[in-house]
């Protein structure tokens, strides 16, 4: 008895219209904000959010409260499902509309699933190298290796001021600082340097400092942490663990940035950056590094050839292409595959896309080994947009044809 007003509310067209109107405003504001907050920042602030408070538009802060993407999506979903349940009629007249709306439900649910389940990673290798893992795009881990055993701690757990006790490690990790994004600079001798962060390891040769979150779509944050390791016997010193040293592609970019000082010097700087940092506790040596979190596969890919072609006489890229050897000892598969723009490899629940490349003439002239970066995506719900789009398209066409034939025959009889 009391349920009727609730049902009426959730099945009303007015609710649909209001939600659509809010969605338009949200998408518009969220798009404008990208100029100030960056693509990922805007996504988190407006779309992957329940309630949006305050907005950035054209460099100004605007006080406003909007329902976020999650809230609107959920309400639209409830609205759609409720309407379907309570207003369902069978018949040609409504068939198209109902199919279209069912398709929208599939799309919304699919996007929700993608949001929760999809993982994006990258695989970075040079010609001749083999990888059986890929690096996370957004997650990092602090990794300790002692002999054959390794311990990985998610970077998310490192909070400035905390002290972490891990069972497999004979020391406490005191987090002095954990920066989401950071810059690195070589401490050139004979220069006016401020004192180093600590006097251990790579901090002797490099300055690290916190930086603002990146905004551009093709960049990512590079975290750095300042850590002190303590045992009952006392401190093992303060050290810097940085993704700048843990990620091969970043080390390469640091090396390239110092190339104007001469290749030998640049190489020396890069070698110092990746110099292993080791501490000793309980009679065991631990080498540690901060690096992108890894996902391992039971198979491996070897980059055979990376090729980048341009249109003649221009810098306009024509084609990026990686030829890889897929090796799966479990199934005995060993075959060559070509991955290029718009032609990914789908294998073992993962999809490998051609993403970035350093090959072709520019790499050749600089004497670099061609490298390729593959975007690796695991998305169990990747098929839902295809199904949803098909349903909505078909539904709208049916409805449209139904009206059109009615309209045309009506005009003819006039």
């Amino acid at each position: 008895m009391r349920i009727k007003p609730i049902v009426d509310f959730f099945t009303s067209l007015k609710l649909t219209a209001t939600l659509l109107a809010f969605a338009i405003v949200l998408v518009f504001v969220g798009t404008l904000a990208q100029a100030d907050e960056g693509l990922y920042g805007a996504q988190a602030h407006y779309f992957k959010q329940w309630l949006v408070i305050g907005a950035h538009v054209f460099g100004h802060k605007i006080p406003l409260i909007l329902p976020g993407g999650y809230l609107l999506g959920t309400l639209l979903l409830v609205n759609l499902v409720a309407t379907h349940v309570y207003r369902f009629e069978f018949g040609m007249k409504k068939l198209g509309i109902q199919l279209a709306h069912a398709g929208i439900i599939v799309l919304l649910v699919g996007q929700l699933a993608t949001d929760m389940l999809a993982r994006e990673m990258q695989m970075h290798f040079a010609e001749g190298e083999t990888r059986n893992y890929s690096d996370s795009d957004t997650q990092y881990e602090l990794n300790f290796v002692s002999g054959d055993t390794g311990t990985a701690i998610s970077y998310k757990l490192l909070k400035a001021g905390d002290a972490l006790r891990i069972d497999s490690l004979p020391f406490t990790i005191v987090v002095k600082a954990a920066w989401k994004n950071s810059d690195v600079n070589f401490r050139a001798p004979m220069m006016q340097n401020s004192p180093p962060l600590t006097t251990n390891g790579i901090a002797v040769n490099f300055d690290f400092k916190p930086a603002e979150d990146v905004k551009a779509m093709d960049q990512r944050n590079v975290p750095t942490a300042v850590l002190e390791f303590t045992t009952a016997a006392g401190s093992l010193g303060t050290w810097v663990a940085s993704d700048w040293a843990g990620d091969a592609s970043l080390v390469e970019s640091v090396r390239n940035s110092y190339a104007p000082m001469g290749m030998a010097m640049a190489q020396k700087i890069a070698t110092q950056l990746v110099a292993p940092q080791t501490i000793e506790a309980d009679g065991k040596k631990f080498t540690f590094m901060l690096r992108p979190a890894r996902v391992r596969y039971p198979f491996s890919l070897t980059l055979l050839k990376a090729s980048h072609t341009v249109y003649p006489g221009t810098d306009i890229p024509k084609d990026f292409r990686s030829r890889v050897l897929l090796n799966n000892p479990q199934s005995g598969e060993k075959r060559e595959v070509e991955i290029s723009m718009n032609h990914p490899l789908r294998y073992g629940g993962y999809t490998y896309y051609q993403y970035q490349m350093d090959a072709g003439q520019s790499a050749q002239m600089a004497g670099r080994v061609p490298t390729s970066v593959l975007q690796v995506v695991r998305n169990p719900s990747w098929l839902t947009p295809y199904i949803g789009c098909g349903m909505v398209g078909l539904g709208l066409i049916i409805q449209f044809m139904y009206h059109l034939t009615g309209f045309v025959s009506k005009r003819k009889t006039k």
């Binding site: 649909t16 659509l20 998408v27 693509l39 249109y311 003649p312 890229p317 024509k318 723009m341």
Partner: protein, 615 residues
């Protein structure tokens, strides 16, 4: 109708070469912007970039009725490349910014002194180049988004000067006095010159004179090559399309001098010496060498020249204007003849428009929409088609006005977008897929076109309703029905197009939806159309509300089409021009004004008034 058809086909006639065979010269193929083009296209695109027109007026200070001398693009290009002594005197650089004009100390408008105050020659600009370079160096440090109008003018001028320098160094060094003779002397010098350089490097005695002359040649050719002009020399055996400068630098390393190098030198010598017969003979010989190995390139160049001369979009635009006027007149005197006349004229323009569209697709080997320019052409095409269909059914002149109005506006937009340069540029690797260009891009563009048709119908409703007495209840109802039908159509196409875009993204980099500005723009169109439909179904809006919502759809579509590109972020941003931003703002304001009129209470409308009071 017949007159217009005759006019169009009359324009198709190829101009005959009287003296120098410049039109024939324009049909030679070369490689520019990564594709094979005729010299004619290079000439037109370069002139568009430098002068914002496809032809050169060598006497711009004369009024049109004084018959200033207009020369075709190919003739201009031939002289820039091979006869700079003449070309450098032609007022080809268009400059509008007064600060830049005074920086370069250029003359004011004065017909007696042969100055129009807007177009200047290389020789007029050249003395101030040092000043210009200093300013240019400064503004290169200013981020494009923060530049003033003056600084933008400098940046644009820099591009124009570079383009001009590239063309001047495409065939011969720009400073060559007698190129055929210099080329022969260079060839003769090579053995001694190479010996001198080798000896010098080995620290032995060498011929100072030979060394100096040879090194001077190499430096000039190096300069030519470094400017990266178009690749003018055709493939020869293992050698692909090459730049003249690169080819000349290869000669001392043992690569023989191609026939093409000699043929171009012969043409250059003939132009400089004003010998048309010799030029035409050299041109003919060069063409003959291309026939066996470059038949495909020749045919493609020829086809593109024909397309350039046809100017289908420009001609269609002119006819749309005429047809639109006829259709509007038909509302007032309700003349069926005028309406029919308009309908058939639009049909003619549509055929020309379609021919151009298909011709372009064949030339490029691509679906209709590959860039912003072609999207304007295609949106116009789709809107005209919808308008014609509406006219066929309703026979009330409304469809005709929509078709000709949107056809005209979109082609004007395309005309201005073409100023950016080559409109058939090559597709970057990620876009290099005909399947998705044909499905996603076409569907989204049809969505744009239909949203504009609905919006334009809304404008007609308001214009006729508020300002004239021609909108009776039946016409109003018919208009609302048209808008409703078109909005349904728009919803279908914009939705399918947008989702297909997501699927393309999923295929390319594994992310169905990335909240990229262009994606969001398309999503807003879908949401807006869906909102209109739901408001209508719920009875929240009626006839007038529908009309106003449809007009707002114009703003939403303009935002998605151009606005998001101006944010300068994301995958789809193509860079932003200040002029485009101004026009977009103007458009938005005008549409809002129409909506404001639409919101006026009915008693202020000229139409309906009587029927309203009666009811």
């Amino acid at each position: 109708m017949l007159v217009m058809a005759l006019w169009f086909f009359g324009n198709l006639q190829t101009p005959k070469d009287k003296d120098f065979a410049y039109a024939e010269f324009g049909r030679l193929p070369l490689t520019a912007n990564g594709r094979i083009v005729p010299l004619d296209s290079l000439a037109r695109n370069s002139l568009l970039e430098i002068r914002e027109k496809q032809t050169l007026n060598t006497e711009p200070w004369k009024a049109w009725n004084e018959h200033p001398k207009i020369i075709p693009a190919a003739e201009w290009l031939a002289n820039v490349m091979m006869n700079p002594a003449v070309a450098d005197e032609w007022p080809v650089f268009r400059i509008d910014n007064p600060d830049l004009i005074s920086l370069l100390k250029l003359p004011d408008k004065d017909a007696a002194k042969h100055a129009d105050g807007k177009h200047f020659s290389w020789n007029q600009i050249q003395p101030a180049l040092e000043t210009f370079d200093k300013e240019n160096k400064r503004i290169q440090g200013v981020e494009a988004a923060n530049r003033t109008a003056y600084e933008n003018a400098i940046a644009k001028m820099e591009q124009r000067l570079t383009r001009y320098a590239q063309l001047k160094n495409a065939v011969q060094p720009a400073d060559a006095q007698d190129w055929p003779a210099e080329l022969a002397a260079y060839e003769k010098l090579i053995p001694d010159g190479v010996a001198a350089v080798k000896a010098q490097q080995a620290g032995q005695k060498y011929d100072q004179n030979n060394f100096n002359i040879f090194v001077a040649y190499i430096e000039r050719f190096q300069f030519m090559a470094n400017l990266q002009p178009p690749l003018i020399l055709p493939p020869n055996g293992p050698r692909e399309w090459r730049r003249m400068g690169d080819a000349l630098l290869e000669v001392p390393r043992g690569t023989p001098v191609d026939d093409a190098i000699r043929d171009y030198a012969r043409m250059a010598g003939a132009i400089a010496a004003n010998q048309p017969d010799e030029f035409n003979a050299a041109l003919k010989d060069y063409r003959a060498t291309l026939v066996p190995s470059q038949a495909k390139a020749l045919a493609k160049a020829q086809a593109e020249v024909f397309f350039n001369q046809m100017e289908p979009f420009y001609n269609a635009m002119v006819i749309y204007v005429l047809a639109g006027l006829l259709a509007v007149f038909s509302w007032f005197n309700l003349s069926e003849t005028l309406r029919r006349c308009s309908f058939w004229l639009i049909g003619l323009a549509f055929v020309i428009h379609t021919t151009g569209l298909v011709y372009r697709m064949v030339l490029e080997g691509r679906p209709p929409v590959t860039n912003l320019y072609s999207s304007a052409i295609f949106i116009g095409w789709g809107a005209v088609l919808l308008g014609l269909i509406l006219e066929k059914f309703y026979r009330n002149g409304i469809g005709a006005v929509v078709a000709s109005g949107i056809g005209f506006i979109t082609l004007i937009i395309a005309h201005h977008l073409a100023l950016e340069g080559d409109t058939m540029e090559m597709m970057r690797a990620v876009l290099d897929t005909n399947f998705w260009l044909a499905t996603h891009v076409v569907a989204v563009t049809v969505g744009y076109a239909s949203t504009y048709v609905a919006g334009f119908l809304g404008l007609i409703y308001i214009l006729r309703g508020v300002f004239t007495k021609t909108l009776d209840a039946a016409t109003g109802k018919a208009l609302a029905r048209m808008i409703y039908g078109i909005v349904c159509f728009a919803t279908l196409f914009s939705f399918v197009g947008t989702v297909l875009g997501g699927i393309w993204a999923d295929q390319s980099w594994g992310r169905f939806w990335g909240w990229d500005p262009k994606e969001n723009g398309a999503l807003i169109i879908v949401l807006w159309n869906a909102l209109i439909l739901h408001l209508r179904w719920g009875g929240i809006i009626r006839e007038r509300g529908l009309v106003n919502c449809a007009i707002f759809g114009n703003i939403v579509t303009a935002w998605s089409w151009f606005g998001v590109n101006m944010l300068g972020i994301g995958l789809h941003s193509y860079g932003f021009t200040e002029a485009a931003f101004k026009w977009l703002m103007l458009f938005v304001v005008s549409q809002l004004a129409f909506i404001a009129f639409g919101l006026l209470p009915p008693r202020l409308w000229k139409s309906f008034n009587r029927s309203a009071t009666r009811a």
